[in-house]
Amino acid sequence: MGPLAYLTLCSMRNRLRVRLKRLREPRYLIGLIVGVSYFYFLFWRQRPPSMGAEGAGGGAFAMFGRGRVSLELAGAAALFIVAALAWIWPSRSRPALTFSRADVQFLFPAPFTRRQLIRYRVLRSQLGVVIGSAFMTLFLRPTSAANGLIFFVGISLIMTAINLHLTGVSLSRESLGTHGMAGLARQWLPIVVVGGAFVVLVGTAVVYWPDLTAASTGGELFDEIGRLASTGAAGVVLWPFRALVRLPLADAPATFVRALPAALGIVLLNYIWVVRSDAAFEEASAELAEKVARIKKGPPAPRPASKATPFTLALEGRPETAILWKNLILVGRYVSLKTLLRLLPGVAIFGVMVMQNPSRGGFTQLVAVVSGVMFTITVLMGAQLARNDLRHDLVNLAVLRTWPVRGAALVRGEMLAPAAILISICWCSALAAMFTAPRLKLPLSYVAAAVLLAPGVILVQLLIQNLIAVLWPSWVLIGAHQARGIDVMGQRMIMMLGMLVVLVVAVLPAAIAGVAVGFALYWSTQTIHILLPSIVAAIVLLAETWIGSEAVGKFLERTDVGQIDATES
């Protein structure tokens, strides 16, 4: 057995051992029970009794028969978008080439070629592909064992192709970014292919735009898109994507076998592309690029190491502001103007869609719906997504504990940055809704009530999230590390349920106070008042947050640093 195969097998075996061993701890055992129960109910509970009959019963597989061609087209389009986005918005982590520190320390100085190392990482990443494909297959509840196997192999090959392609894109972009013209010379073929594909598809859309807009129904439009995607240059461009998607959608083993060679060929081409992006040539190219750069430009200018802070931190004032400043810097360093510019194509497409809508009422409605959805998601889910608070900072608890700052002030300071971001999003959404409100006959008092209540609801949720992080640090995701496994997923579900229960309990006093004031006003004026009860409820929520932060602060002061474990996997 080769050393890399030995390393892979030992790692897998020991990881499994660790996962099994940690089940001795009740939190993982309970998590596993909840996770397995979830999957049982999701995959098997509603399964039809007769599994053998093709197309019998529910499951997404039944849908395949009814719209296989449409699915193939949609899947191919989705794959093309993924491939195109990879060039516009490449992953920094390079999916298949994320070497661990131990890999770097042990394997890089070892007598392996870079090609061997790339092959090793690519093959190791296949484990995730296999597990992911198995879950997808189970999720779709195949109607027969053959169907299941076809779908599993097909989806595995698609995911492998995506994985390889994203890795190839990352390597190409790195080559371009690092080696300039030498990198371009090395990577010209894939760049030309991608650029050409993009031009063909956009050109087809432009040429046949009158035909597309002439379609009077959605069905006609879809038929026209299908025709364009199957014929001419666009058909050629989309062929590899359709060839891949055809595999899991195959309705019989014979169809699958016929589609297999093309799909395997695509995977193989991507594999060769990735493995050939080896060091020797690139290093020579880098030397060449450096020589050219020296001749042409002289020494390169140093890149700026950091960016401006959100505001200048005064040297006096409450410590909460200092922690807010620190955590806002965290967001600023990860969300750059470049990142926002990458969203432009999406915004442009959205804009074109809106411009195509002849009705101004439609536009207003669209803005209202988007802002409403944005507001609701931010209020209900934002606190779980914006994590630049104690959930991120508990890994630095040893440092925070040496600061002469009360625990409550630390908690409030940590909550401020995500709160500021989420409340800003909510208020911007509400502002957009406010402009559309008169046309949609939405009372402004409702919008004002939402604006008033959002901060309190968000702060209460953030407080609960931070309370959970302080009381049960090993149950939540701390820092950037992410524990994995069904047991961990079960833990997350328990925490989510617990958070909802606590949220209901926390919001109840504010709701009671608001409703009481509302009733009192109605009783005395015979008019329904929205604003004043909302103000009362918001005040109660803010007071609860303040009192709660004092309590969480006390817990934080007593938290043992040894409980914080951010390195589980």
């Binding site: 190491a305 950091s306 931190l313 040297l315 620190k326 040893a398 040496t402 002469p404 700052v405």
Partner: protein, 242 residues
């Protein structure tokens, strides 16, 4: 300035520190030494409030670190063996944050002096990822010294430093002691402790086994014999305890 009385720290069934008492007075540089797992780091972490003691009391400048942590921590600086910095703050931003937390008024002058003293010039706008381990150590030390603390705790202060950095660091520690600071240095480098410390406390299996100047310890016949080096004293004492 630093007073540790009957400190015990228990992790589950493991008693890391057991009834440990000592003091560090202003102007003193005390070396805390002991074998691996003796309880040095646990003691330091209890003193600075990172973790609470199981029993016993710790006072910094007369303030109990558990009952009255904020005033106690205002006097403290802890330089850990593994520098822990915020990934997304530059060197200067670390200093500014520290200045705000400790309410340092003449920030600009102090920050410049520390940057010069610790040879961080040119690295002011670098993120931790762009710094070597030694540089990170210097940033952590600059943050620790910024508020002119009266009680300083160093855990393996020379780790990761280059020869010039080591010389500067030794100078920094001695200067703080001579300026009236109470300095506690935990290290395995016995020659460092012997060179810069005015007194030595030896801990083994969580309990204090020796406390005094090197001359006092070497004079005690049961330890090593007159004229012994700190290394000989240490090996004798810890071997006897084992």
């Amino acid at each position: 300035m630093i007073s540790v009385q009957s400190l015990s720290k228990v992790y589950g069934t493991l008693k890391a520190v057991d009834n440990f008492s000592f003091t560090v007075n202003p102007g003193e540089i005390v070396g805390l030494i002991g074998p691996n797992g003796a309880g040095k780091t646990s003691t330091l972490r209890c003193i600075v409030g990172i973790q609470g003691p199981t029993t016993g009391s710790i006072a910094i400048g007369g303030h109990d670190i558990v009952k009255d942590p904020v005033p106690a921590k205002r006097h403290l600086a802890f330089m850990a063996d593994e520098p822990q910095l915020f990934d997304y703050l530059t060197v200067m931003e670390h200093l500014r944050l520290t200045a705000r937390i400790y309410q340092v008024r003449d920030f600009d002058a102090r920050a410049k002096a520390l940057v010069d003293e610790l040879q961080l010039t040119g690295k002011e706008h670098s993120l931790p990822a762009e710094l070597s381990r030694g540089m990170k150590q210097k940033v952590a030390i600059a943050c620790g010294l910024l508020h002119d603390p009266r009680a300083l705790l160093f855990d393996e202060p020379l780790t990761g430093l280059d020869p010039l950095g080591i010389r500067h660091m030794k100078g920094t520690i001695v200067a703080r002691g001579q300026a009236g600071g109470a300095v506690l240095v935990s290290s395995h480098l016995l020659h460092l402790v012997e060179e810069i410390c005015t007194r030595v406390v030896i801990i083994n299996h969580g309990t204090k086994v020796a406390d005094g100047t090197v001359a006092e310890l070497s004079a005690q016949a049961e330890m090593a014999g007159a004229g012994s080096s700190l290394e000989e004293i240490f090996l004798k004492v810890t071997a006897r305890e084992s």
